[in-house]
Symmetry: D2
Subunit: 298 residues, 4 copies
Amino acid sequence: MSGATRIELSRLNSAEPAEFMAGLGDLYEHAPWVARAAMARRPFASLDALQESMKSVVQRASPDERVALIRGHPELAVRAAENAKLSDDSQKEQASAGLDHLSSEDLARFQQLNAAYRQKFDMPFIICVRRHTKDSILRQFERRLQNTRAAEIEAALDEIFRIVALRLDQRIAAPDRLSVHGHLSTHVLDIHSGHPAEGMTIELLELAENGSGQPIVKDVTNRDGRTSEPLIAGRPLPIGRYELRFHVAAYFARLEARQSNPAFLDIVPVRFAIAEPEGVYHVPLLVTPWSYSTYRGS
Amino acid sequence: MSGATRIELSRLNSAEPAEFMAGLGDLYEHAPWVARAAMARRPFASLDALQESMKSVVQRASPDERVALIRGHPELAVRAAENAKLSDDSQKEQASAGLDHLSSEDLARFQQLNAAYRQKFDMPFIICVRRHTKDSILRQFERRLQNTRAAEIEAALDEIFRIVALRLDQRIAAPDRLSVHGHLSTHVLDIHSGHPAEGMTIELLELAENGSGQPIVKDVTNRDGRTSEPLIAGRPLPIGRYELRFHVAAYFARLEARQSNPAFLDIVPVRFAIAEPEGVYHVPLLVTPWSYSTYRGS
Amino acid sequence: MSGATRIELSRLNSAEPAEFMAGLGDLYEHAPWVARAAMARRPFASLDALQESMKSVVQRASPDERVALIRGHPELAVRAAENAKLSDDSQKEQASAGLDHLSSEDLARFQQLNAAYRQKFDMPFIICVRRHTKDSILRQFERRLQNTRAAEIEAALDEIFRIVALRLDQRIAAPDRLSVHGHLSTHVLDIHSGHPAEGMTIELLELAENGSGQPIVKDVTNRDGRTSEPLIAGRPLPIGRYELRFHVAAYFARLEARQSNPAFLDIVPVRFAIAEPEGVYHVPLLVTPWSYSTYRGS
Amino acid sequence: MSGATRIELSRLNSAEPAEFMAGLGDLYEHAPWVARAAMARRPFASLDALQESMKSVVQRASPDERVALIRGHPELAVRAAENAKLSDDSQKEQASAGLDHLSSEDLARFQQLNAAYRQKFDMPFIICVRRHTKDSILRQFERRLQNTRAAEIEAALDEIFRIVALRLDQRIAAPDRLSVHGHLSTHVLDIHSGHPAEGMTIELLELAENGSGQPIVKDVTNRDGRTSEPLIAGRPLPIGRYELRFHVAAYFARLEARQSNPAFLDIVPVRFAIAEPEGVYHVPLLVTPWSYSTYRGS
């Protein structure tokens, strides 16, 4: 995912304190004390052990320290001028859900929610943005505003652990991997001809609340009826609604299969939601010029 | 279809000439001579015999008479002021495809095509509007502009015979019916529970070239998983593209079937084209919370 | 079903006692007193009212009378010599499940069960044979042998009411019909070509416990992809397991669709069970040379 | 496949003549001259190059030598006494299609065909047995008896090349593999619950002409809805008809899904043919308690 080279876990295990802190000190936003305390517990047998170790540092910290950790995070969807002040990681994370170029209407909505949240809880709203779309963030925001403060502190820490797990996955190389990635793929089987559909154009769009679609991937199926790469992989699947578009009429026209004019099926839309960012979603199409089936596969 | 009572064919067979001409004189637009010639061939055993008789009057007419018949028809999509001058039948027919309230952009396109057609062929463009949508009329219009004049005269007469068949079907009651109607229906089978899906909201939209949808029907399935009436029946099916929308998540929520949050399938869109206005189109859905199939059924 | 003409309910309502008793006296096996008591409650507005009336006569009879009614019924699957002594209705009913020509092994099993049942309950085992296959009768027989005597008297009377409902349906014509019939049908849709499969051979077999099949119907699909008549209708569907066989390869060979050699699909078997004798079972096939789907439809 | 260790191709390339001939001399049945001529063309860059080299030795041999090569092969399905005289490879190959324990009826049929073939062509009938079932061998036997002698010599040599390719694959280890293996697998997706069906019993049977089934594999699906190993792999798929049996009712009973009694679907049979021994056959099932789909997947 990241262009930067990952540091080997084994190297971190034997690194000088300065090198260790250079690598992990900013993992928890504005809270180098977490990495510092974890450093004393080296060596770590796995990425998972490293993560659990830092997590327990936070869990054993005092209530005030935990709230301070939360307060060290920026608000979501801030204005461009303030955006420049965010940490590098935070900037990229917010960009992943498009929070860096919102419409003025959406920006106003975020500002209003940010203000209401700070007024009620006296801290910023925290969510692991990479697991969401803009719409699912807004839904969570409104839902969580109904919580008690105690519940929100728990929720915020859980989201921070998710943010950190993704950062760890990008920075550290280790034999084990953390379970932070999902997988979305498709497959087209031409059951008219009895073989995978080769050369069919496929598009993936993310759907906004209002039904409009944002293109994510456009590809053409290979000999095995699959796209050259998974539609989404190596990152959490943003919670949200999607549409796959299968260019069926053009495919069967090239095969010279009998179709009506206009073709009964042309571009077939399949709409579905992703609810588990770390899940495996396989959404195939079984198709003839006159029928199709789709399902959540595996 | 029509609120007016149909005249019995048997009554027409024995009617005085004045009554016969009152019933059928304007069937062929501004061409009472067709009905008058056919009147002499009574009695007609069936609607089909009546239609064939009038058709042969036209086919045996001189070339000049046939062109005059064509020229007796109005242009499509004329301005409101001229619209009022159309025959009753023509007004209703043009309204059936929305030609009476076009956007100014569409109106300009029609006027440009009308002018080009009249310039090339010296007669109005004729098409059986009830068998088309606005978009399919425009496609035909552009395609037929490429024809020779001889081919266009044939095409125009064929369309006139289709217009007349539909008018006959609405005016005359007879034991036989002309094959002028199509049939579009759907059916939802809940293969999660093993019975028809009762109480599922279904919408039918007509899709414009640009993908936007015009609502036609909204209904809720009955105990048999069907809509209370066919989606379209008793008229030709306009050639064009359509979208059915099945409200799947709300249906399974009411049954308390396990679904993810958000539901994997919510409103399922099924897009298809109608190519045969007199065809039977059955487009059912077999559905679970995690899969669906659709096909051109019968 | 029956070749005999049905008597009109209205006629029975005004018939002389002798005629009424001639029509219904033997409806309850060897128990003309039921019809006689019901006769006094005439007129009956519907078949349903007539049936309910006779049922309440039985329900208000004394315990001894009810047991006597049960004892008036023959045992199942008696030897040929005794078979001749059965009432006409009983003979036909037993034949409907093949109890009149059992293998010697099956006959022995019935005799053993009959003896055990009589020993335990001092009455014959009663079941509405037309709703069952031989195998499902044997399963019920063994299960009901575990009952208490009180439960068995109730069970036997329920079965008698079912037997009587079927006899009423065959003898009496009335505007309403009793819900005593089921319906089994199929339909083949060729989703390779996009139309109903015409000319496909279909077989229906009833499956015995050991998996062997007894042919019931063999037919060829018509233009609409259906058999000329429902596979079973106008009678209860015998509870049991069935197999439909669709001759797919021969059908697609005639259409000259590309198939492998040997064809991937040849005769497609679909096995299913009927659990509700009065149910509607529609078991269609959606098929290409390389795929098929089936489901309980409606 | 074989318990014996494979020889490395690189080792053969540098082996002494005696070792080379010990490894490959009997590859072509009773024709060490083929290996001997190929030996001079070493080294071979790949298994494929080795096979092509020996093939060209045969193709350049004289007509008499080629017929002698064919005559060096045994007849199919010989009696037990003669069976002991076959080469090891031939014994195992014939056993793979059950030719070593035929019914007396089948044995008589083979003997009659062997005699007719020898009478017409003066050589034994040769077929690559591992690519066939007994039934498909008999069909080929009868078909090929209609050939001319020239066509049969070509057919016999093609079959010998297939036999040799399989033997090479079992004896020699090399980076490349010859395309001599097929792959048969299944997968069960529970589209009632939206996940792979875990714990469903699956059986694979080979079907004889008369419809009876010979068990090949019985397994239970794992968490991914697959069998622990492919149903057939690492060998050619014998041409023939097969039946998969999916124990659907037991699976859904364990999940406590609503089913009728008896269950609408119990053991679901899926019958299909394999026509390409080196093909990839994936035959999945998408299933609910009330429906299923199957298809040739990939």
